[in-house]
């Protein structure tokens, strides 16, 4: 398992390769890249600043990946989340899951993203022409996370 939280950018291709290189049991790698958009709630976004709770961030991400590993048969997983000041087009988050078969890889990858969105201590502040504002949590994210219960 690889968990990385920091200001630096990442290379999705290198992360995907690291999840299967030399691992002939891996038949499937599902991955996700989240990016800064230049529009949110109808307003243009010029900067996105990510704050987090350093002592808790990696711990919570590790717990989310562990839970995915209890639910699905996965061989490895990587979660990378950037913090600090970003701009439209910048990468924010990478989640990759390696598995024998695609069903487990897809489900675990989406589960990790849904739980990360609702349980990992990150907060976004957008810079817009009207000034800065904290991004409000979306109820659709809570709904997405609730799907995995029961």
């Amino acid at each position: 398992m690889k968990i990385q939280v920091g200001e630096s950018d990442f290379d999705p291709g290198a992360e995907i390769s690291a999840l299967h290189a030399g691992q002939p049991r891996v038949g499937a790698v599902a991955s996700f890249v989240g990016l800064v958009r230049d529009l949110n709630e109808g307003d243009s976004v010029t900067t996105l600043t990510l704050e987090h709770y350093p002592a808790m961030t990696e711990k919570s991400l590790r717990a989310i990946v562990d839970e995915a590993g209890e639910r699905w048969s996965i061989l490895d997983a990587t979660v990378i989340h950037r913090v600090g000041r970003l701009q439209p087009l910048d990468r924010i988050v990478f989640v990759g899951v390696a598995s024998m078969h695609r069903g487990d890889a897809f489900a675990a990858c989406e589960f990790i993203m849904d739980y990360l969105k609702t349980r990992a201590p990150f907060w976004k502040k957008e810079g817009t022409p009207q000034g800065e504002r904290w991004v409000e949590a979306r109820s659709s994210d809570e709904t997405a996370a609730e799907r995995w219960k029961g």
Binding site: H81, L116, K117, W123, V135
Partner: protein, 85 residues
């Protein structure tokens, strides 16, 4: 008992502090007791920490509820719903 309380995002900005140590009577308490105490400080605390504010808490870096027990030396974090990813 003394606990360290951390604030994040909008709460950190509204309160103008990142963290503080606060003292409560007794040896143990529910996490709710800390929020109750802070709310009594008046504005902006009472508004930002209103019961329907939707804020979340963590005790020792784990998501917690208002009935999570806390004790001397614990690290309590109070923050708005998370918006990472």
């Amino acid at each position: 008992m003394k606990v360290k309380v951390l604030y994040f995002a909008k709460l950190r900005e509204k309160f103008g502090i990142e963290n503080e140590v606060i003292e409560l009577p007794g040896e143990r308490a529910y996490a709710a007791a800390i929020v109750d105490l802070l709310r009594k400080r008046g504005e902006p605390w009472s508004t930002e920490l209103a019961l329907d504010s939707g804020n979340r808490m963590a005790v020792n870096q784990t998501l917690a509820g208002i009935v999570t027990p806390v004790q001397d030396g614990d690290e309590i974090a109070i923050f708005p719903p998370v918006t990472g990813g």
